[in-house]
Amino acid sequence: MDSTPSTAPILEVRDVSIALPPGGDRSSAVSHVSFTVGRGEIVCLVGESGSGKSVIAQGVMGLLPKTLPVTSGQILLQGEDITHAPLARLRELRATRMSMIFQEPMTALNPVMTCGDQIDEVLRQHTPLSAEQRRDKVLEIVREVLLPDPERIIASYPHQLSGGQRQRIMIAMALVLDPVLLIADEPTTALDVTTQAQILKLVLDLQKRHGTGVLFITHDFGVVAEIAHRVAVLRLGDLVELGPRDQVLRRPEHAYTRMLMSSVPTLRVDERPVDTSAPVVLKVQGLDKTYDDRSWFGKRRQVHAAKGVSFEIRRGQTLGIVGESGSGKSTVARCIARLIDPSAGSVLLGGAQPGEQAAEIATLSASALRPLRRRVQIVFQDPYRSLNPRMTIAKAMIEGPVNYGLSQASALERARGLLDLVRMDASALPRYPHQFSGGQRQRLCIARALMMEPELLIADEAVSALDVSVQAQVLKLFEEIRERLKLAMLFITHDLRVASQVCDTLAVMSRGEVVEIGPAHQVFGAPQHEYTRALFSAAPGRDFAFGA
């Protein structure tokens, strides 16, 4: 089963089970998992949340909390059984033979130590080198992870660096002693797509140069397609499929893998018919949002979150806004929903019905705005925080219509109908949010927004927090709703694959400005702006056709 028979595996996980504390929904986090990582090989552990992939990584590093004991099996590092190795031995092995990088480099680095000192600490612990030699080695590794101006970088504190730079420091720290095994636990998940592409390339380069074996944990099949040699698919603690990348991705054998693969949205570039005669529901012109960063002492600083944003959305159509974090895409959405007040520009709502006057909502006062609020509804990213934990679903759903004078009974009637539309059961009504999974909650949030019978539905990263299989279902739901109710939709996302699935028109934002806007197939097929091209070429696994 091993594809690298020439050398003995660096890491061998043999029939390992890890128990969960009693009272959970299952008895073990991981059950009877076996796989190997060879020299110079990248093995990707993929799975949805709760699949136990991070637990395996912690088990290898000996970082498992006491509540999650390894109950059977062996973990061998270069033939040495480290399953129940004493702490002292693990300490010797960490950093020298195996090391780990984490998802969130900001919290993985010590905020009160300079980056140089943190790398130096590793050397001080494990080598007899003099201060001078250590410094040379630190500079050398910082250069190797391609950080600019190494002298300045090692004197910087983590908060002075960008997310990508911090992750490079983490990688430098992990690789400074040239370990045989590198464990990467979702190392690019918190990063923007362009930064992610650079970090992935760096990991690939370093791994090739040093012959390190890499255990790479991710939920993103794009990333898998980009870097994996072999792939192990986990589902609820069971390893359901293990094999070379192309085999697993192109000819998955297990039904679960097939389902996952079909859920990954494809980058679609086909033209779709756009009805240009449909009435305009939303017209945004020259929208500006500036934040004044005022402190009692010191200078006033102005942050331009959105600059001169203009677009329009017609009935029954979806405009997507894509961009990296800090590009201002959410600011635009929140200005339109008037959760924040725009600094300048115009937001014209309506005029869709003949004879109806379009309403300027950018400048309305809170009381004048209230009657118009129901026409724009928004669905947020985090389904766990979008529903008040102390309110039943019924109360949450009828809140809006009752605010506008609908009777409770007819609001409940409407709620039942909409639950059916989002394919939930009416038995959900008397329950509390914690009794639902993330995807179900997101359905409920969509239903709650639709209760208001809005003309414009804003989805602000509404599928980003969901597992890929759930994401596919919710995306499908958005499509259905738009078609059935003839809604205008504003779809904010950082994920190009998702955007290509649902959007008719696409706007690309960078640093508060729309750099490119046009029909989705045009923007995807022939991106004009330099930034758009960079963004697209950074999308992981773009050459791989998923969702077949």
């Binding site: 389902m259 209230r370 609020r373 309110m391 394919r423 059961d425 279902q473």
Partner: protein, 320 residues
């Protein structure tokens, strides 16, 4: 799949997708807050002792007590357990066993301590309720009305800079001691802490997406405060309330002990101790028994508070 999902009925049209997705497994059935509190050892111990104290204070007349204000010069300074006589208001002289001895006026310490339980519990609960109510109102205002925030917070900072006991003494001295004034005097120095707590909770909760959703559903601000923000501050407030209750009971005893609390004719633990202070060397029981009750009560309330914090307020709880 171990946990059933409410949607499984309607979505069974696509069994393949649904049964394979791990999503349903992410629903962990939680126990209700009450079930968690009941299972917590600290909450049970603290709650048990407090229930006992409440029973004692309610059943005071039937626990071998006499009217706590009765005295008999013939029964001065009796040791615990000795039998002496005591004269009722009607002039009748009774034989009475002084379980905790008597003080230098010939009053029954047992009766005074047991009746004192009522006073202490009332003071503790009333202080907590008053401080929480005012603190919640001020905290909500401070967290929601931006221009008021600065002013209110500076006033609270000023209040926090003065030692609580000093404020209480000054207030009682101004108004003369009664149950009401003592409760108000003890509650006022606690208000800034509650206000700060509520304000910080409001500031974080108002950023929650469910509050923003309510805004776009057209819910008026006062309803958002009452329906979405306030209910989500309850758990930390209950916890804070128990700590205020404990410190209120202590402060009342201190005030009484210093002679600036409730008038000496009202039986409170602090008053009993204050009167026994002079003769502490010869007759330690004067201070010992009320002291035990005081310590036990405060300890029980604090243990209950710890238990509630661990179960209701997971963010503050220590990880175990």
């Amino acid at each position: 799949m171990s946990s059933s999902t409410p949607a499984s009925g309607t979505e069974s049209a696509r069994p393949d997708f649904e049964s394979l997705s791990v999503e349903a497994a992410s629903v962990v059935t939680q126990r209700t807050a009450w079930q968690r509190v009941k299972a917590n050892v600290s909450a049970r111990i603290g709650g048990g002792v407090i229930t006992l104290l409440v029973l004692i204070s309610l059943l005071a007349p039937w626990l071998g007590t006499v009217d706590p204000s009765l005295f008999d010069p013939a029964s001065r300074d009796l040791r615990p357990g000795e039998v002496g006589e005591i004269t009722t208001l009607e002039g009748e002289t009774l034989k009475h066993r002084f379980l905790m001895g008597s003080d230098s006026f010939g009053r029954d310490i047992h009766s005074r301590v047991i009746y004192g339980t009522q006073v202490s519990l009332i003071v503790g609960v009333a202080t907590a309720v008053l401080a929480l109510t005012l603190g919640v109102v001020l905290g909500l205002l401070s967290g929601y009305v931006r221009w008021l925030d600065g002013i209110l917070m500076r006033v609270m900072d000023g209040l926090m800079a003065i030692p609580a006991i000093l404020i209480a003494i000054a207030l009682v001295a101004m108004w003369r001691g009664s149950l009401l004034t003592v409760v108000v005097a003890i509650a006022i120095p606690e208000i800034p802490r509650v206000t700060r707590l509520v304000r910080s909770l409001v500031l974080s909760i108002r950023e929650e997406p469910y509050v923003e959703a309510a805004i776009s559903l057209g819910t008026p601000t006062w309803k958002i405060m009452g329906r979405h923000i306030l209910p989500n501050t309850v758990a930390p407030l209950v916890v804070q309330g128990t700590f205020i209750c404990a410190s209120g009971i202590l402060t009342e005893a201190i005030l009484s002990f210093l002679g600036v609390g409730l008038p000496p004719d009202i039986p409170t633990w602090g008053n009993v101790m204050a009167e026994g202070r002079a003769q502490f060397n010869q007759y330690p029981h004067n201070i010992f028994f009320p002291g035990i009750f005081l310590a036990l009560t405060v300890l029980a309330v604090n243990i209950l508070g710890d238990g509630l914090r661990d179960t209701l307020d997971p963010k503050m709880a220590k990880r175990g």
